[in-house]
């Protein structure tokens, strides 16, 4: 039994450690207003306070903390992207993740299981080799492995699904998962300790922009003046950007996922198939999480559909035939803000002191720490974009400088 549980068993009064601060009054003005109390917004607040001494910060969340895509994603952490810009960025994120439990003094259950992506066509083999090479170039642990190695790694996997035999695998040893909610709570806990105010149930309904600067946000609890504002929401990022008069090349699609009942562990790595558009992982609780591609049309609705479930589960059974007898317990959906190049939109906006952390599609959770860190740096410096996120500027779409991660994003998330 770990030492720090003793106090719970041995003390007569339950030792309450407050993780999430109790509700408080909204102040009339903050130096920094962060819109969105998910992982990204809370991380930004935390790093602002920790590294930059900026503590007159409010995080405004329309529902409960971490209620958006922080709650809905399937918690895949990886850096095996395709572009130099992407790999560099996500690799930093992975590094930060690895230390978060101890930094938070709160176990996010970071589980380094490795991620295996399967190639069923020679085109995918080519693309995977490039990803492996780019990863290695930036210090990541990624290898191409053959069928025999795949068999040893995941003995239960069917290597010959349908007419698409597995040719090779991209084995990303840095691939991991974590308790996604705990990431948001850990940031909230530490940010609050440093003086950041966190306001759940506070919905930003409009932005007040005067002479190209944001001066206040209007919420359901009244108007709040601000020195600057950060947009850190997901699912509706283009709608909020529109309130700031910014047009975003974002289309929002529902993304569904599902989970089975808990079973005794049989699968360690996160396994995804490029051709079957399906990924399968077993959580620490023993449940099997299954996800795949987005819905085929844009929509702002987190309803579940039967069609997607039918196709996805058929593919999951192709990969692991014995799952046919497993029982599905729950399906859910989130809304993903997809950009044309499958990379985020971060940094400055046409509104001078309004900073963007948007367009997070299916790659938001894994970027949480590095987003917070770089956005904090951007805000604290009054708009000096850190080199790591320069490639993700909004204006890349008008200057044709896209960072194309399409090939490294599909189905793996």
């Amino acid at each position: 039994m770990p030492f720090n549980l003793l106090k719970y068993g041995l003390s007569s009064e339950y030792p309450v450690e407050v993780d999430l601060p109790p509700p408080c009054e909204l102040e009339p003005r903050y130096d920094v207003v962060i819109i969105g109390g998910g992982g990204h917004g809370l991380a930004t607040a935390y790093y602002l306070a920790k590294y930059h001494g900026v503590t007159n910060v409010a995080v405004l969340e329309k529902s409960y903390l971490g209620s958006g895509n922080t709650a809905r994603n399937t918690a895949v952490i990886r850096s095996n992207y395709l572009t130099s810009e992407g790999v560099r960025f996500y690799a930093e994120s992975v590094k930060l993740f690895q230390n978060l439990s101890n930094e938070f003094d709160f176990n996010i259950m970071y589980s380094e299981r490795g991620q295996l992506t399967l190639a069923h066509t020679d085109a995918t083999v080519r693309a995977f080799r490039q990803r492996a090479e780019v990863n290695k170039h930036f210090g990541g642990r990624t290898e191409m492995i053959d069928r025999q190695q795949i068999r040893e790694l995941v003995p239960t996997l069917n290597l010959d699904p349908g007419h698409l035999p597995v040719l090779a695998g991209l084995w990303h040893m840095d691939g991991a998962t974590a308790r996604h909610d705990a990431v948001a709570w850990g940031y909230a806990k530490q940010a609050a300790k440093l003086g950041v105010q966190i306001h759940p149930l506070t919905e930003v309904q409009d932005l007040v922009i005067e002479h190209g600067r944001i001066t206040a946000v209007k919420t359901n609890r009244g108007t709040v003046q601000c020195g600057c504002a950060v947009q850190a929401i997901a699912g509706y990022s283009s709608l909020l950007m529109a309130k700031a008069g910014i047009r975003a090349p974002i289309h929002s699609y529902p993304l569904q996922a599902m989970v089975t009942q808990p079973f005794k562990p049989f699968l360690d790595p996160l396994v995804s198939s490029s051709a079957l558009h399906c990924y399968v992982q077993q959580t620490g609780r023993g449940e099997v999480v299954i996800g795949g591609g987005s819905d085929p049309y844009p929509l702002y609705n987190t309803r579940s559909t039967l069609e997607l479930k039918e196709g996805l589960l058929a593919h999951a059974i192709e990969m692991f035939p014995f799952l046919a007898n497993a029982r599905l317990m729950r399906q859910w959906a989130g809304i993903t803000d997809m950009t044309p190049d499958y990379s985020p939109i971060m940094g400055l906006s046409p509104v001078e002191n309004y900073y963007l952390d948007a367009g997070w599609g299916t790659w938001g959770f894994k970027a949480t720490p590095i987003c917070g860190k770089t956005m904090a740096e951007l805000v604290a410096s009054g708009g000096k974009t850190p080199a790591l996120i320069k490639p993700f500027a909004l204006d890349r779409f008008s200057t044709f400088q896209q960072v194309n991660e399409m090939g490294a994003t599909a189905a793996s998330h």
Partner: protein
């Protein structure tokens, strides 16, 4: 042979006493009856311990007997987490418990319960990570403890299928409300589909008791069932579960091995209500069950649930159940009513007249047990002094059955999936549903109607509402509005915290009262956060019994109303469903060209190309290189034949055909002569190259455009999409699968073709390079295209698919004299690489624009528009960042693989897209992206190959082979 504990008929509606079945549980042989569930058969044998709980490994027995709890999850040989109270008993079934260490009866992990104080809510967030790195040690240990059943990893999917059903009205649930609704709707002229989970109709009419004299209800049930079963407008699905509600009344109904996908115009949910447990210490012991579960056991399975019963109730239904138990010979030790008195005073009289003690304003404070906690042995009953507060002492009552009923929670899952919300009414201490979408009605106890008379009225009302929307309304349904006043059925605070804990709010997750309260004290005040932090409601029963007490506890702890607190979101499915049910029969479409058989006969190594299968080369896998080189030499020196049927083909016909292509592709097509082809390059709106092909004009109004195998479906879609805006006068048809095609290539190609085609002048002047002709080849009508993809004299011959094999045979036969041989896709890739032709999607990526691949020549600059023109212009005006170049290496150098990186100093400047050894040239050749300033022919690019070694490759001008194109233009 009757088991001693089975009750006589009419108890046991579901079982067939003439069909005994033998089965095993945990190695012991038992006997049950056809119609039993696993759980009822076990209880019939006096076996109560079915499972061990998730966290503390406490012994558990059935709670609901309705498939609504995780206590009865058992393991079948190839099926984990089976609901023992729903799974029908089969002969020789081998059942075991799950989630134990050692044996189910002696679980070594049961000690964990004693350490629950050291495992407070969310304890895993507070430990196991210090000192840094420790989590890696703890995690595998903790993981082993997680999970319930064991998956059979050798299990192979069994047959499952799907069917569609269409109906006017779908009625979910065949209890009194559902039966009445179905009958009224059917009588009104609607086609009705009635969906019932049980094998028999009637729902609560089969097991509940509605009055002291139950005969009228019994008779009514029989009449209703008979009327429904004989009505021609009603189709009944028994043992079927409506497992979700999807938009527009799209209902997945699982029955046997089949998933029905039901489209209903109207939907009536009469799914009933979940009986709710009371929260007190040790409320999870085997022998403690919901009152309804005890009634189900008796009436459905003839199982006597105990010898001496104690009933704990918050409503009158507990009194009626006491009468049931008494009548079946169970000694009723006492009835404990949490209320001051029953709504119907005659119930007290009825019980007392039977010698049953009634303790009012009292509760069970703690359930008692013997060693090992195998079964409840009694209860500590105390008077309630205030909300959740009891007297300091009470009395002990011995019992081996404790029935509890705190009230009801509507079966809200389907309705919340449909957009309804739950709101809590303090005066009823119950959740009710609000905001149902149009076309969705609720009836019966799910709608808060519990009096049988009201339930039936509600069924009629719901049917009338559905009928009126179906324009089948009948006059005179006013009586449906006159509901009787409903007595309150929910007790407002059936939660009794105990200093020693173990008052379980969530049985699945072993969560006690203090766990829920402490979660709020840690700051997790929103019920969603409480769920996520404590895992309440996340287990297999998805909050069916924990949602209501959790809402009450969280509301109290955070000073909010229960309505404000709410419950967590209900998501599909309603009950856990097998993946096989949803997946159905495997459907794995794969396409073969008409010549597929010929390739196999010729020993082809097949490879997937999209959903097609194509020959990679002809020969054994391990001789890939040798086969390819031999095939390539043959094409260069003699003649070869390749099946290109998978190549996309689009027929564009109509007066505006040329205009359409002019807008879609970068080249100019308006003045393209009939009988000629042009290269066709397509860019997206962002200027990125997305496809290419050949555009052949067979007539003024008829173009035949080829597209890449993998791209054609997308390109076809793009064409339709754009023309939906442009409305040009054209017809676009995807003829990919309608045509089979070959490429006959090599110096002797013309000679082979001449033997089979006489209606076209095949001479170089008569049918020059890039010419196209309609011709007859081997008697088959064909489209002939002179192309040069592999860099030799070549003819693509496209014929109707049904003649593909005949064409192949004819060409192979005619080619015999010239030593013709087939070649595969891999060989073709080598040949085109020698010619420096690129393959879109292999040599281009999501960013490639024409200037990067030297395709400026393929852009008609003076036409007003093509898709992507503006972007291409902007991109061309920017300094070039990278370029696709040809490179070559000595034959003995380390061969780069496709995907390897091109470096520039410490940076990545590009990647290898194609690379192969060319026997023709005696060198390794390839295509790669590199920085613009590395792209000068004669220079060198560093390529990092396998193992990290860097080779220096020479940048060479393309093509590698036959730079003057003399061979293809022969």
């Amino acid at each position: 042979m009757t088991s001693p504990s089975r009750l006589p008929a009419p108890m046991g509606l579901l079982i067939d006493r003439d069909r005994p079945l033998h089965f095993e549980f945990d190695g012991t042989r038992y006997q049950g009856f056809a119609g039993d569930s696993i759980a009822s058969a076990l209880l019939g044998n006096g076996r109560w311990l079915l499972s061990r709980s998730f966290k503390y490994h406490r012994p558990r027995g059935p709670l609901s007997m309705a498939g609504q709890d995780a206590n009865s999850l058992v393991q079948l040989p190839s099926e984990p987490n089976v609901l023992a109270d729903m799974h029908p008993l089969q002969a020789d079934l081998a059942v075991t418990g799950q989630n134990f260490s050692g044996s189910l009866t002696k679980d070594r992990d049961a000690f964990l319960g004693h350490f629950s104080r050291f495992m407070p809510v969310g304890f895993y967030y507070r430990s196991f990570y210090k000192p840094k790195g420790m989590w890696k040690v703890w995690e595998p240990l903790i993981r082993k403890k997680a999970g319930l059943g064991v998956l059979d990893l050798d299990f192979r999917p069994e047959y499952h299928d799907k069917a569609f059903l269409f109906t006017d009205v779908a009625v979910v649930g065949a209890g009194p409300a559902g039966l009445q609704a179905a009958l009224s709707a059917a009588e009104g002229g609607a086609r009705v589909l009635l969906i019932e989970q049980q094998p028999i109709l009637g729902g609560a009419l089969n097991w509940a008791r509605f009055a002291i004299d139950d005969e009228p209800a019994h008779r009514l049930g029989q009449e209703l069932c008979a009327a429904v079963e004989s009505h021609p407008n009603i189709r009944i699905l028994r043992e079927a579960t409506c497992n979700a509600w999807f938009s527009d009344h799209f209902l997945p109904v699982i029955q046997g091995n089949r998933l029905y996908k039901v489209r209903a115009r109207e939907c009536i949910v009469a799914a009933g209500a979940f009986d709710q447990p009371v929260v007190f210490r040790n409320n999870d012991l085997p022998g403690i069950m919901l009152t309804s579960a005890a009634q189900r056991l008796m009436k459905l399975y003839a199982v006597k649930p105990g010898q001496r019963a104690l009933l704990l109730t918050g409503n009158d239904d507990g009194y009626l159940a006491a009468l049931d138990l008494h009548e079946q010979g169970v000694e009723v030790a006492a009835l404990v009513d949490m209320r001051a008195q029953p709504n119907d005073g005659s119930l007290l009289t009825a019980l007392r007249s039977r010698g049953i003690a009634c303790h009012l304003s009292s509760t069970v404070y703690e359930a008692l047990h013997g060693k090992g906690m195998r079964h409840v042995s009694g209860a500590e009953v105390r008077r309630i002094q205030a909300q959740g507060q009891v007297a300091d002492s009470g009395l002990r009552i011995d019992c081996d059955l404790l029935c509890m009923s705190a009230g009801y929670m509507p079966v809200y899952q389907l309705l919340c999936q449909a957009g309804a919300t739950l709101s809590y009414r303090d005066e009823e201490a119950a959740f009710t549903l609000r905001g149902l979408p149009a076309g969705l009605e609720v009836a019966g106890s799910v709608n808060g109607r519990h009096l049988l008379d009201n339930v039936l009225r509600d069924g009629r009302r719901a049917a009338a509402a559905a009928l009126s929307r179906l324009d089948l309304a009948q006059a005179g349904n006013s009586e449906a509005k006159d509901f009787l006043a409903e007595p309150r059925v929910n007790f407002d605070w059936p939660i009794f915290a105990h200093p020693k804990g173990k008052e379980f709010v969530d049985f699945d997750e072993d969560l006690q009262v203090r766990d829920i309260i402490n979660a709020t004290r840690h700051g997790y005040r929103d019920v969603q956060l409480v769920k996520r932090f404590s895992t309440v409601g996340m287990g297999p029963s998805q909050g069916r019994h924990s949602a209501l007490p959790t809402a009450r506890l969280v509301a109290q702890a955070t000073g909010r109303s229960v309505s404000e607190t709410g419950v967590t979101t209900a998501r599909p499915p309603f009950v856990a469903e097998k993946l096989a049910h949803i997946a159905g029969r495997g459907f794995d479409p794969a396409r073969q060209t008409p010549m597929h058989q010929r390739h196999l006969e010729a020993g082809a190594k097949m490879m997937p190309a999209g959903i097609w299968q194509r020959p990679a080369f002809y020969g054994p896998t391990e001789q890939r290189d040798a086969c390819m080189q031999a095939e390539a030499r043959h094409v260069r020196e003699k003649v070869g034949l390749i099946d290109v049927s998978t190549l996309g083909g689009l027929d564009v016909r109509g007066p505006d055909a040329a205009e359409l292509l002019n807008r879609l592709y970068t080249f100019a097509f308006l003045k393209q002569p009939v009988g000629r082809s042009r290269y066709a390059l397509m860019t997206g709106e962002d200027g990125v190259v997305i496809d290419d092909g050949v555009c052949a004009r067979f007539a003024d109004n008829h173009f035949y455009v080829t597209a890449t195998t993998s791209g054609v479906d997308r390109i076809y879609q793009q064409m339709l999409k754009w023309n939906a805006q442009w409305r040009l006068d054209v017809d676009i048809t995807n003829v990919t699968a309608a045509l089979a095609a070959v490429n006959l290539a090599g110096p002797d190609a013309r000679k082979v073709l001449e033997r089979l085609c006489s209606d076209v002048d095949l001479s170089p002047a008569g049918f020059p390079y890039l010419g196209v002709r309609l011709a007859t080849v081997a008697g088959i009508p064909a489209r002939l295209l002179r192309v040069g993809f592999v860099g030799e004299l070549g003819y693509e011959i496209h014929v109707p698919a049904r003649f593909g094999e005949a064409l192949w045979d004819a060409l192979m036969e005619a080619g015999k004299a010239f030593d013709i041989r087939p070649f595969g896709v891999e060989t073709q890739r080598l040949l085109r690489l020698e010619k420096g032709h690129l393959i879109i999607s292999q040599d281009t990526d999501g960013m490639t624009h024409p200037a990067e691949i030297d395709m400026g020549w393929a852009i008609a600059r003076n036409k007003p528009f093509f898709v992507g023109k503006r972007s291409v212009q902007i991109l061309e005006a920017q300094p070039l960042k990278r370029k696709l170049v040809g490179f070559s290496l000595a034959a003995e150098a380390r061969k780069p693989l496709e995907g390897h990186l091109v470096l520039k100093g410490d940076d990545i400047s590009g990647n290898v897209t194609s690379c192969e050894y060319s026997q023709t040239l005696g060198r390794i050749i390839g295509l790669a992206y590199c920085a613009a300033d590395q792209a000068t022919p004669g220079g060198q690019i560093p390529i990092r190959v396998e193992g990290g070694e860097v080779v220096l490759a020479e940048v060479v001008r393309l093509p590698f082979f036959d730079p003057d194109n003399t061979r293809q233009e022969l």
